[in-house]
Symmetry: D2
Subunit: 338 residues, 4 copies
């Protein structure tokens, strides 16, 4: 099947590669000619601009945009003049699902279908496949089924969910039509919100393992330091990389994120290469906003997000206020850093 | 290798089965003669009491206790008079690692080794193997290696952690000597603390997906109800069981807990069989206590625990205070349940 | 000074009363003629409709709207045709500050000033005065100074902040021009966000005091119940109403919210009249949304909000998922309610 | 009435001063002779050692210990040989209530009463009075009533709680017999737990006010930075010191902690003198431990504690793990500090 791809960054390029391997035909465009050439070398057809891209695709065209959320609007403006009724535009990036609603509405009068597709898989997707969460009208989603099936991981060796039988459903192959426009990015958004909290759960646990030997340290005895009442309980030197490894087998906390943590800790159990300034990139925030607006309690998801803010120094003024209050009511002076 | 097993509940019995299948010799005891007989039928040797159990084991004896944390003390009292220097007692249950320190100290003068072994695997362990986190002295742990190896899942088909080579380490086979006494249960404790937060992360996320359609409901317009500013953003009917399934493949949040969630939601997406009173059974609390005592931030782990308390009504008085305050300062009357 | 008041509910009516007592002249309107009559009996002038209200006010008119956030738009539409350049509309209700920006922009072309005024004080404001947080252009805010001064509590007997001298600033009299449009409601929004967390802090603490005697209860010993390791530490029967009272004097936690809590607990330490379904009414949510959007860590403010959602049953599905997972991995059945 | 005081630090010395002013007779001891001399100059009687202190007090003796929690044991050992049946020892410091149980049990066989007294007031107590939370047997607490009454603030000008009439209760005078031994420090412990969360609530709120202008900054547009979708909503420059002041009058969040915050922000709205490393000193931790052990949800109290840990760098390894995971699954490199 023929697909146009706009945006050949890490994600877009790998997705084209995976589609080419599956026998699909890809016409590709990026602002960077080198990115185009790399894929042409692999068997894709290059386009010189949006008009050329659309000209090289047989109607009804299917064009996948794999660009930063902030430029989707502009790309739609650039490409849509070259589209016709019946064509389909797919936003496979990390857009806010609310923008999907606007984009679909904008294209609807011209008869252009819009599909939002949340794409999970990162740098591993080329080999492992991409988990796809899709929103849009049935006709367009149905037509693109071969593309989704090729990008998705497939059923693989994973043990089947109890109670499922017959041919593998789409969800069992790693892609799902979640509902009308926005539903795909909504599900992907919640996916990332969960991801933040899963990551933080492991991080807190491993950090606690790193603190298992605090009883061996000398502790200052002063009014500004909470005493450690039972230092004999905290005399351990836990091998965190080995713990990550052992939990990968037979334990309740086994997961892909744990696999990655095992990779990282094996390389350096002290993680010296990382300073601990943790970015967040949109979906985590949107998940928390949605939780608040819908009245859904999500304290872990939100706290995980706030911890990232704090890691970047955004709690500093709050902490200064606490120190200032302590000075005011108790004459407590801040303790200097060790 | 010969092993005595005390406690033939769900966990203990399955572990004996797994050991028998691996060719080990098991002498088994339980207060319930039927539990003994079931395993005798499978090839174990039954014991009539502690003395008989110890008599049937060749020194140096290895005896595994798989009993509730609250009775470990009593079992040690009952069995230790029949033990000799060089024997080893293993506590494979869910004990607090602080009790391990006491137990080891109590047995040390008699030359009896004590091993604490955190055991993860639940009802799936018989087939899947048990993840074992072990604390104790090198000599005893070394001697029991064949038993641990048989109980553990083994290396299996799981992709190897990047950077590992050569023969599979014990951690890669699913068991780990974590350190001296208490280290095993300490690591298991943190494992369960993480587990609570992982579970809560998924639960919050799926709950949010269930709220994705709140914009379709009528909303009361009064001073006691926060308005939903953009109902058009919450018009979805997300198929949660299918979402759980699709996330199992290629997504960042894939995990064994997600596999189980997919099982449960496929059976009934409304989970009508569950009222939502969530138990907690010790390790989660101990993890949070350790975080506080060691000065380790663990807001997700602790909040996950507190949410379980709340699910059982333990926040009720706090909520009544909030309503009472609101009445006091604003004359707000509580809204009745819909 | 002359002021028009639209909206004579609990808040609006009391504010008119306070203004009349201070010697100001009020022209009042409400959809309910009885509400108008009550204030006419107290010395206000009644208006039959918006046109009449505006006719009875000498230009430049100052009109205060004290209506639900949801109808401010409609009221502006109704009243603005009767206004002229130089007049001022004040929104003293609980509007979202983002709406202030829209309202100000809408009125600006006609030369009508818009002021947003966050008003704190509740049912106590008539006697105690209202704390006012004001946003808008200098000219309009300056002109209304006598009105704000009359509504505000004034400097009172409260001990002066160290370092302040000379005549009492406006902030010391209980009202503050916080910045341009929206700034007043922004500060009021954060005020309410803080309020939620302060309330929850007391509620959690008093709930803990209520749990100080749990060691006296029998505890079930089973795998579904975390053991209470030191029941002798929890044998107290703390008199919570007396504790609230004693903390009012000389303690670090003394506050007006504590005063109210003391009122409520004295009336009934069991708070039997309250079921614990806690409403939230907008500002708390907006505060958390702003924290997320600006990258400001606010875990307490947000958790306080989520606890209110949970008190209304919105965590139920999340809790059912936790129970379902526990059943899946460990065969744990939910414990019934005691 | 006669009282012995051991420990003449900031708290102990001020308490003696307050007692002397009220006409009580104080015999004082401290390891530092200068501290003794200062109070002798004010009218106290000095003691050269524990024996001398006890000799100078007429039986039944009442001796107040105002020493760090860590040395209470040692002081009891030093002073108790000089005491007789019927005497009373008071621990007025910040001890764990569990230690009170041990101390009372240790002294009981000798007929010595033990009283635990949680003391709130800090550097302001001399003038403002101390809020006292008392645990112990009726006889001893009753006998010391004049001392407690003199240390406490008294009823003062504070508006009476609705429903109270007749002579002011002890709680209305600022001291309370909370129950048997440990009850005083238990209530003080919870008091401090609440205090931490109240402080954090204000700190988060003021920090959010400081972020109200983030829309004026340039924002990087890259995959590592969450976009600020509506910069026009965050254009404010909120005068935080003035906001603290205005909230002191008529608002729902008025409190003594807010008064102190107003002091601090007036002195320097940027709080440049504070680095934001916030200490915690025992009670906050014990409150959270008690919440966990009793099954009481206390997410705000605990999160406030954890934020203090994080302010001191204790979350660093957790944050490094998050960055490492992000690098593993998405190839994300950490952004450097601006």
């Amino acid at each position: 099947m023929q697909l146009g791809m706009i945006g050949l960054g890490r994600m877009g390029a790998n997705m084209v590669m995976r589609l080419l391997r599956a026998g699909h035909e890809c016409v590709v465009y990026d602002r960077d000619p080198k990115a185009i050439q790399t894929l042409v070398d692999q068997g894709a057809e290059g386009a010189t601009d949006m008009a050329d891209l659309c000209a090289k695709l047989a109607p009804p065209r299917n064009i996948w945009m794999m660009v930063p959320a902030g430029v989707v609007d502009a790309v739609i403006s650039d490409v849509s003049p070259h589209l016709a009724a019946g064509d389909t535009l797919i936003d496979g990036g990390n857009s806010n699902y609310r923008d999907d609603l606007k984009h679909a509405e904008r294209l609807r009068p011209e008869g252009i279908h819009f599909i939002d597709c949340g794409t999970s898989g990162g740098v591993w997707g080329l080999e492992r496949g991409y988990c796809l969460m899709i929103g849009g009208d049935d006709e367009a989603v149905e037509r693109l089924d071969p593309i989704f099936a090729a990008l998705a991981p497939g059923a693989g060796e994973i043990e089947r969910t109890h109670g499922r039988s017959g041919p593998a459903s789409r969800s069992e192959q790693g892609y799902l039509h979640c509902g009308p426009n926005g539903a795909g990015h909504f599900v992907k958004m919640v996916h990332n919100g969960i991801e933040y909290a899963l990551m933080a759960a492991y991080a807190e646990g491993f950090n606690l393992l790193r603190h298992a030997g605090v009883g061996r340290n000398d502790h200052e005895v002063d009014a500004e330091t909470a005493p450690l009442s039972n230092p004999e309980h905290y005399q351990y030197d836990i091998p965190v990389a080995e713990v990550a490894e052992v939990w990968r087998r037979g334990s309740v906390v086994a997961s892909w994120l744990l696999d990655l943590t095992a990779n990282a800790l094996l390389e350096d159990p002290d993680l010296k290469g990382f300073g601990g300034r943790v970015s967040d990139s949109g979906e985590g925030r949107w998940t928390c906003l949605a939780a608040i607006e819908t009245g859904t309690p999500a304290p872990l998801l939100t706290t995980a997000l706030f911890e990232r803010f704090s890691s970047r120094g955004e709690a500093d003024f709050a902490n200064q206020i606490l120190s200032a209050m302590r000075y005011q009511f108790g004459g407590h002076h801040e303790k200097p850093k060790d």
